[in-house]
Amino acid sequence: MSSDSNKPVEEKPETKPVVKKPEEKSVELPKFEKDISDKIVEKFGDKVEVAFVKKDRVGINVSRENVHDVAEFIRDGLNYDHVESVSGVDYPQDNEIAVVYHIGSYSDPTLARQLLVLSTRAQREENPIPGNDATRLPTLRDIFYSVEFHEREIFEMFGVYFEGHPDNRRLLLPEDWADIPPLRKDFAIKGR
C-alpha cells in the first residue's frame, strides 16, 4: 500500500511502446535487440531479412536454403542455445507454409529475456502427400537438439518434411489418420 505510488509510474512507460502506434516504434528501436539483428545482417547480408525488432523479440526471415547456416550462426555466434517453440503457419494465398522457431538462451544471462524468432518458409502443395512431396525443409535438430519432437509435430500437423531429421514419425495424431494434415487452412473442421 505504501509503495504503490512510486513504482508503477516507472513501469508503465516500459510496457507501452510495444503496443503503441508503429511510427513511434520505428523511432526508438530497442538498442540491445537492434544489435542482435545487426550482427546477423552483417554476417549474412541480404540473405536474411529483419522482420521486426520489438522489445525482447527479434524477428528474422530466412529462405529455406540458408536457414541451416543462419541457425548455426545463431547458436555459435550469438549464444542462443535452445528452441522454445516451433510453430507452423499456413499461408495458402502465398502458397507457402511458414515454420517459426522461437530460440532462447539459458547459458547467457544477458539473453534471458530475449527470444529470436527465426522464420522460414516451405513450399506448399495443393494436394499434400506428407513426406513425399516438395514441402521440405532442412532440419535444425543437429543444431538445436530440442526441436526433435517439435519438428515431428510440424510434420504431422502441416506435412512439412524435415530432411535429415532421424525420426520423422507420427507423434500426436491417431495411427489411422488418413486425412490431410489438420492444421493446414484447407482442412475444415466439421460444422464450421
Binding site: 500500500m1 509503495s3 504503490d4 513504482k7 508503477p8 513501469e11 508503465k12 510496457t15 507501452k16 510495444v18 503496443v19 503503441k20 521486426f52 525482447d56 524477428g59 547458436r75 555459435d76 549464444n79 542455445d81 535452445h82 528452441v83 522454445e84 517453440s85 510453430s87 503457419v89 499456413d90 517459426v100 522461437h102 539459458y106 547459458s107 534471458a112 529475456r113 527470444l115 524468432v117 506428407p130 513426406g131 543437429d142 538445436f144 537438439y145 530440442s146 526433435e148 519432437f149 517439435h150 509435430e153 518434411y161 532421424p166 525420426d167 520423422n168 514419425r169 507420427r170 507423434l171 500426436l172 495424431l173 491417431p174 495411427e175 489438420p182 492444421l183 482442412f187 473442421i189 464450421r192
Partner: protein
C-alpha cells in the same frame, strides 16, 4: 558452446528409429522391430497406474531400460485448430482446459498476448489480482502433482495429504472466481470479477495455514529414506544436457540453471515482488521433486507480498469492444512461468476477430524430450519416479 551432441543422446534415439524413408508414417511402436532375444519390449500405458494418459514403449534388458519411446497424443484435442474458429473472447474457456488445475497460468500468456495485440492497458489492481490468482493456482497444480507423485511411488499418505490440503486453496479460488478448477477468470483487459469482500483476510489466513501445513511434508515425504533411496541419483540430467534439450521449469532449475520467467522477463507486477527462484544442482529425480515443493513456499511468500502491495480499490478490468480485432498483420509471443515451467503463446493475427494461428508452446511437451534420455540405463522400477518428476501433464503436452 559445444557443437556435437553427447553420445548418449544420439544412441538413445538411433536405437529406436528405423532408417528406411518409407517408415515415415508408421505408427509409433511398429518401428521398434529390431529386437534380439535378450531385449523385451514392454508397452506401458495408456492403462497403467504409472503412466497416465500416455504410452511409453520401453525396451528392457533384464531389469534395465535399454530404450524408451514416448507415444503421446491420447488427449490431442486440436485446441490450436479450434482456436482459429473462435474469436478472442470465446477462446478463453477452451484454452484453459489443457491444465484445468492450473487454468489461470494456462490462460496467462494468451491473455497477455491478446492485450498486446489489441493495445490494452490493464488496471493496476487487476495485475495484482492476477498475480494472486496465478500463484494460488500454481500451488493447486503442484499439490495435485505431488499427490500423484505419491501414488506413483506407492506412498498413499502423500496422496491423501496434498489432495486434502489443496482444497483449502481451491476454496479460496472458488470464493474469488466462482468455480472449483476451471476459472476462466483472466480476460483481456483484466480479470472477470473483483475480489469478494473480506478476501484479503481470508486469503492471508488460509495461505499462512497452508504454508505451515506443507512444511510438515518434509518429515513424511522429503526426508523419508525410502523416497530418497528411490529418487536420489535416479534419472540424472546434467546441466549441459538440460540446456541442450531445452527443458524448462523445475526440471531445468533442478539441473542448476537459474531460469524463471517471473524473474527474467517479468510480466504484470512480478518485477515489484521479491521472487526467489530455487535452484538445485543435483539434477536427479529427488531434486526435481523437491523444487516444486519449495516453489510453493515461495508462492505463499509472493501472495503475501501481493496482498500487501495491492491497491485497495480501483477497477479490475477495462471495457472491451464487443468483438475485438487485432490491428492488421501482427504476431506476438508471450511467455509466463506456469506450474510446470515456461509456457508460451504465439498468436498470429490478420486483423480479423479470430486469431489466424495460435500456438501453445507448452512446458510438458518440451520436458518430454528428456524422457528417453533419462530413462536409458535406469531400472524399470524407477520409471514412474523419473517420468512423473519431469513435471509432465499429458493433457497439456497433447493439447
Amino acid at each position: 558452446m559445444t557443437t556435437e551432441l553427447p553420445a548418449d543422446i544420439q544412441s538413445s534415439s538411433s536405437e529406436i528409429q528405423t532408417d528406411k524413408p518409407s517408415s515415415n508414417w508408421l505408427p509409433p511402436g511398429l518401428a521398434l522391430q529390431k529386437v534380439d532375444e535378450r531385449i523385451m519390449t514392454l508397452n506401458v500405458g495408456p492403462q497403467h497406474p504409472g503412466s497416465g494418459h500416455m504410452r511409453l514403449i520401453v525396451q528392457i534388458d533384464g531389469d534395465y531400460i535399454v530404450a524408451c519411446d514416448p507415444d503421446p497424443g491420447y488427449v490431442h484435442r486440436g485446441e490450436e485448430k479450434m482456436a482459429e474458429y473462435r474469436n478472442y473472447i470465446t477462446n478463453i474457456p477452451h484454452l484453459e482446459r489443457p491444465v484445468i488445475h492450473d487454468s489461470c497460468n494456462m490462460l496467462y500468456p494468451y491473455v497477455l498476448g491478446v492485450e498486446e495485440l489489441l493495445g490494452i492497458e490493464v488496471p493496476e489492481r487487476a495485475k495484482y489480482v492476477r498475480v494472486i490468482a496465478a500463484e494460488l493456482n500454481r500451488c493447486i497444480y503442484i499439490m495435485y502433482w505431488l499427490a500423484i507423485y505419491g501414488i506413483f511411488l506407492g506412498h498413499s499418505t502423500m496422496f491423501m495429504w496434498p489432495t486434502g490440503d489443496r482444497e483449502l486453496l481451491i476454496d479460496l479460488m472458488e470464493k474469488m472466481t466462482g468455480a472449483r478448477v476451471t476459472h476462466s477468470h483472466f480476460i483481456p483487459g483484466g480479470v472477470r470479477n473483483d475480489l469478494p469482500a473480506n478476501f484479503e483476510e481470508v486469503c492471508l489466513r488460509q495461505v499462512n495455514y497452508f504454508e505451515k501445513r506443507i512444511k510438515e511434508y518434509a518429515a513424511v515425504f522429503y526426508d523419508n529414506p525410502i523416497l530418497i533411496s528411490r529418487t536420489q541419483n535416479t534419472g540424472v540430467l546434467s546441466r549441459q544436457d538440460a540446456i541442450r534439450l531445452g527443458v524448462t521449469g523445475s526440471v531445468l532449475r533442478a539441473s542448476g540453471i537459474d531460469f524463471d520467467v517471473r524473474k527474467k522477463e517479468p510480466y504484470d507486477v512480478y518485477d515489484e515482488l521479491d521472487i526467489q527462484s530455487i535452484v538445485m544442482t543435483e539434477g536427479d529425480a529427488y531434486a526435481r521433486s523437491k523444487i516444486p515443493w519449495l516453489d510453493m513456499m515461495d508462492s505463499c511468500n509472493i501472495i503475501r507480498q501481493a496482498l500487501q502491495k495491492m491497491p485497495k480499490s480501483g477497477s479490475v478490468r477495462v471495457k472491451l469492444k464487443p468483438n475485438p480485432k487485432g490491428k492488421g498483420l501482427d504476431t506476438v509471443y508471450k511467455r509466463v512461468e506456469s506450474g510446470r515451467g515456461s509456457l508460451g503463446c504465439y498468436i498470429v493475427s490478420d486483423g480479423k476477430p479470430e486469431p489466424y494461428r495460435l500456438k501453445l508452446s507448452v512446458p510438458s511437451f518440451r520436458n518430454l524430450i528428456a524422457l528417453p534420455y533419462l530413462l536409458k540405463g535406469e531400472k524399470l522400477g524407477n520409471m514412474p519416479s523419473v517420468y512423473w518428476s519431469l513435471n509432465y501433464w499429458p493433457v497439456e503436452a497433447d493439447r
